[in-house]
Amino acid sequence: MARKLVIIGNGMAPGRLLEALLEQDREAFAITVFNAEPRVNYDRIQLSPVLAGDKCFDDIVIHDDAWYAAHGITLHKGLAVTAIDRAAHEVIAADGSRAAYDELVIATGSRPLLPPLPGRELAGVVTFRDQDDVDTMLAAAARGGRAVVIGGGLLGLEAAAGLAARGMQVTVLHLAASLMERQLDAAAGYLLAEALRGRGIEVVTEAETRALLGDMRVTGVELRDGRRYPADLVVVAIGIRPNVELADAAGLAVARGILVDDGLATSDPAIHALGECVEHRGQCYGLVAPLYEMARVLATRLLGGTASYAGSTLSTRLKVSGIEVYSAGDFADGEGREEIVLRDAARHTYKRLTVADDRIVGVVLFGDTRDGPWFFQQLREGTDIGAWRDTLIFGQHHQGDAAPDPSAAVAALPDSAEICGCNGVCKGRIVGAIREQRLTTVEQVRAHTKASSSCGSCTGLVEQLLKCELGDGFRVDAAPPMCGCTALGHDDVRRLILARALKSIPEVMQALEWRTSCGCAKCRPALNYYLLAAWPGEYRDDYQSRYINERAHANIQKDGTFSVVPRMWGGMTTPAELRAIADVAERFGIPAVKVTGGQRIDLLGVRKQDLPAVWAELNAAGMVSGHAYGKALRTVKTCVGKEWCRFGTQDSTALGIRLEKYLWGAWTPHKVKLAVSGCPRNCAEATCKDFGVVCVDSGYELHFAGAADMHVKATELLGNVASEDEVLEYCAATLQLYREQGHYLERMYTWAARVGVATIRALIVDEPDKRAALVARFELAQRHAQHDPWAQRAHGRESREFQPLARVVRARATA
């Protein structure tokens, strides 16, 4: 006589288990299945396409009533098992009926997590687990309106895309900083968010839900920071929890899931479990691949065989039509791990392999996922990829192909993109000239279009355009790359940021095909500056990409303390300021006070946590940050000029103060120092500064590009002007030109040597329109830059930069 097999649950796992059992032995068991859901066996993962309208329920049925009848299986639909009587070897169902078993299989799956949020019981709040949930969502979608999806993981995003396809206005609220953070790295998460936004779905990250709003029906969602999002439907998809209660009540060993061994036996050898309800070797799964493997093993075991389950390596694919996302293994970076990254800006793709010991350990693909299964196979088989490492990322069918074309980023530019900023020449004109005039060199392009004839920062792009047009007939002498993350030089990166309106670091990295996922300590600060300079007021400064001095707004010293230098406009101070400085130094036990070469006072040895309080006191006495720590405008050194000195020709001190008040706060590629001397005796040493003014009887001599750092370099003459206003104008124009063209960490004199002193002089002195435009751009940037960073921080901004996370005082651990 056949032995009695009872199965609790009829989800995807039992579906597979039954197939595997029947394949091997149709007669071994008399089978009874209880399912709380009032349905036959269906493909739960296809609920997403059902929601989106790509499929209907009938399409996703796996085994219908006829199938159960044909195989002699008793299926109780809509009947839950409420208890297991292990002593009697019986299960008890909700209607009081009992069923005896020789073998029992628990496959109760899992249920959506619903956190204890206020308002979670309101009508219009749903989870996404079964056909009933889909029906509820479809009914809501038919009425239109707004949907909020809480949770930007796989399920939440499939729900969001489905509801958007059904015509709802959808917002996704996600707790982490990037979407699907368990499956995707930050770079792919960023691309995914952009792709969803492109479909009209609003994506909000770092969004912590505090409450669901409404009386009877839900009307909105409120975040912890107070932001509110109106909603007619709220889908909560923040995770799942295994259904273990039944097993727990029966006295089986349970942790997060029902504990099973490699044979899928629970702590009672007559009872097995599989699917999402189990915990195996500390792991609970939420995907079908592992439970298919479990089903095969369990079928063999139930029939007396010896298969065993050793855990699964997972791969995931997002099922949103038109958005390809694939992930497998462990993609986190770490020591001993390397990443191989390939981005294609034109095709919006991103591929990243994480490699350890010449083996793939993680895969993240966005945009083109065709090679996902192949990479996954190499990962699971532990293939040694050392020999084909260089071409691996191109995938299975491209082994042996050439490396991708570095001019792709330029080829992708529209004809209207401006290539030469100085002369306003766009790509279309250059390409047109190359074709019509049969140009073959950068010199010829310069002669015919004026592109690259001024500052030269677009030379790299012009070369790339020639290469696109002429192919191998043109050889590019590429500028040295910015860092190991890219083949592009600084100039190209800066021009492309403007030409393609790139507005964030992740956007730059994708559009310019960075070879790393998140950049390095070299390119991140540079990109942060370039974006800040390109989009004043619009770009959000990324503090974590800044060097500590600019993050803490003070200079780090060799012992980890900081130095503080308040601004002294033009080197002038007052008794009140000096008194305040003296008080601060005493109150905070600041060990050293020094007069600097830049005519101001340096407080050395300030503890980091004291900085905001020190600044508050200096602010109270009217002093602001001197930016002595920044790649920024530092000091304007002056002499006493004609107010006091018998040789003085102009009021050099007042001019210095005017200059400093006009220029302070500006971020620059490297530090910038100024000086104003009242006569050619030059007591302020103006001729070794980045910008120097020497007053003469007839007006002002303007100098630039000097330095006294590792190199001592005298300035170059820029020109002569007659009024103070013109001094400010010429100085701002020069500074702005340097801000726009300088490579990050390039001093003004290195920039001038690279671009050419004569070129700069001609542009500033001989072209009043361009000069005026530079000044206008400088002043626009200043509107957003002239906020005292000390005052902001003294009032609590970025406070965690200065406070330790914890301070343990007593010699006792609190664990």
Binding site: A177, I556, A806, A815
Partner: protein, 107 residues
């Protein structure tokens, strides 16, 4: 000086450490730098660069590395090893995260 070896010290919430950044924890035995990577992993190192004692918690965090603010040596967050060609190693401490709260195992 050694702390009460083997004890776990509750130090605060993951959310209070900036992503791609660090916070300090001051104890009577040593100062600890707690790092949080872009993908929300947390690592603990003694906050003293082996080169000349720089505060690693003030460095730039990239991937699972930190660049020391004083002279730019690069230290691995997991092992505490200074990356070649520079020699040296910082003490690394075990980290436990429960419900978003961080504890550090004392050496």
């Amino acid at each position: 000086m050694n702390g009460p070896a083997g004890d776990w010290l509750a130090v605060g919430r993951v959310a209070d450490i900036p992503r791609r950044g660090a916070r300090r924890v001051e104890t009577p035995w040593l100062t600890i730098a707690l790092f949080r990577t872009a993908d929300d992993r947390v690592f603990a190192l003694e906050d003293r660069c082996p080169h000349r004692g720089g505060p690693l918690s003030d460095g730039i965090v990239h991937g699972t590395l930190v660049t020391c603010p004083l002279h730019g040596q690069v230290v691995g967050l997991e092992s505490g090893r200074v990356q070649p060609p520079d020699p040296g190693c910082v003490r690394s401490l075990p980290v436990r995260i429960e419900d978003g709260r961080v504890s550090v195992g004392l050496p």
